[in-house]
Amino acid sequence: MKWSNLYKIAIKSIMKNKMRSLLTSLGIIIGVSSVIVMVAIGEGSQRRIKESFSSMGTNMLMISPNWRKVQSVSKGASGGRNSLTYDDIEELKISCPSLSGVSAIIKSSGQLIGGTGNWSTSVEGVDPDYFLIRNWDLSSGRIFTKREVESKKKVCIIGKTVADELFQGIDPFGQKLRIRNTPFKIIGVLDSKGQNSWGQDQDDIVLAPSKTVLYRLKGRRDVDRIYVSATSDETMSIAEEEIDTALRKTHKLAPGEDPDFRIRNQSEMVEMASETSKTLTMLLGSIAGVSLLVGGIGIMNIMLVSVTERTREIGIRLSLGARSKDVLMQFLTEAIVLSLTGGAIGIILSFLIAHGLTKFTELVPYINPWVVFSAFTFSGAVGIFFGFYPAKKAANLNPIDALRYE
């Protein structure tokens, strides 16, 4: 029997029972749309995490002090001497050709007084390369110079949130700002970066020359972190090796010895942060997958009823010369058409739901074409799987009994 005929017969018998067909497909519709929407929500949040990481900077590597074992005794990074110093930074600048920028990070915080009020925030000491590493421009003013870093000048650049809080309606450029009672001069305002992956406001910050913060605010000699950027995406791994070699040299570590520093790149951090959301996506997806399966059972149920109800029709077809396979294919096609139609409606529905979610909630679902494709394919597979038994039952009917069936 020709495919077009099979398809025609299937459509005809589906259209004869519109309401029932719709209800049958409903299981698949809900299943497919929920799989797509659930996965889209999960992927949406994953993408958001990735985006916020890429807002951290381009080709960035983070070097931080690490726990180190000294004669089998673990020493915490915070216990004892911090392992990163300005000597390390100098060495990195000299011996790592794959690096396009190196900046010390000195973390501090404090009460700011200036402009119209006061505000408590974090203060970071950085080097001029920092702005390149983090791909962070200023909305006004200028960045500080190398010289200002070396001479521990009391200048600072403020984030947008700080500018809004302290200098509403005033141009902060050139204004005085007291950080923990030390007066600083504002020389620039940063572009807005928004929230990072942990929901932290990245604009709520004051940046000052690293040595200024280190000596005038902290009174210590070591560096909290070193941010570097590789010259390109391809040189990231080479850069990591170069950093490792350079720091092992300055820290006088024997080859093979556990390093007292740690190099992390963005993809590691992205991975870490998106791990939870990946698990969540899988969980949501599989719950939705179960509903798709239940939809398939619904199809089987209705097809079984349909086979019983149409026993006489099957008898007529068999007596007119339909082979068992023809009847099998007829009912199987019907099941597949039902499930694929359900799948298609489900896809349309999922797009509508995703649109609604984007519009009316905080969620930003991202519909992956691959998920749409596999949900659709899966709905077809469900149709074949659950349609087969009823179709087989129909095909195996004895024509005489089927004709006599009342």
Binding site: R317, L320, G321, A322, R323, S324, L403
Partner: protein
Amino acid sequence: MNRIIEMSQVKKNYYVGDVVVKALQGVDLTIDEGEFVAIMGSSGSGKSTLMNIIGCLDNINEGEYVLDSVNVKNLSRNEYADIRNQKIGFVFQGFNLLPRTTALENVELPLLYDRNNRIKHPEIKAKESLDKVGLSDRIDHEPNQLSGGQQQRVAIARALVTEPALLLADEPTRTLDSRTSKEVMALFQELNTQGITIILVTHERDIAKYAKRNIVLRDGKIIEDFIVEDRLIATEVLQSVTDGAIHEMV
């Protein structure tokens, strides 16, 4: 003249639980092309079984059965399906049309299952077939929009569409009133004059009289096989009924 049916010592048993029902106990039967045979018998005589066997809906246990020079003993399910499709035209007592399907589609149905695509243009062929039974103006009607007689004529058109060797009618007039029955018999007689071989299964003697030859079954055996001497011609009967009615009205 071709031999359409050749049966010798055909036996068929059914098992109802542990009980063996000997439905056919040795049937010898030959039917030639162009014959119009009525198979008669009371219920339980084995005529339904014989019809199922002739129609290749059922296998035989013993004996030989050659249908249109094909030995149809012990064929597979698929082979039986193909034989039914190509050699047999069924007309059932309950019409057995597909509901909510137009007359044309009903008539086309057997052609959809023709594996050899003997008929190139199913739709044209189906229209011709409906034309033959005088329903060319009803091709888009569904069964519930047709009268009983019209439905049976659609069923006959469906049986004819594959150009079968044999038209097999099972109590075709059972659900029809007497006038419509006569009309259907007139159609059968007309088709027979065109050379179509017809086997009619019936329990009504009056209907059997429209056939050329009668076969009577009892207890799974043929007990009578004779040529109908006082054969009725349906058109004449209809004419006289109409005349009578007019006469009464006058």
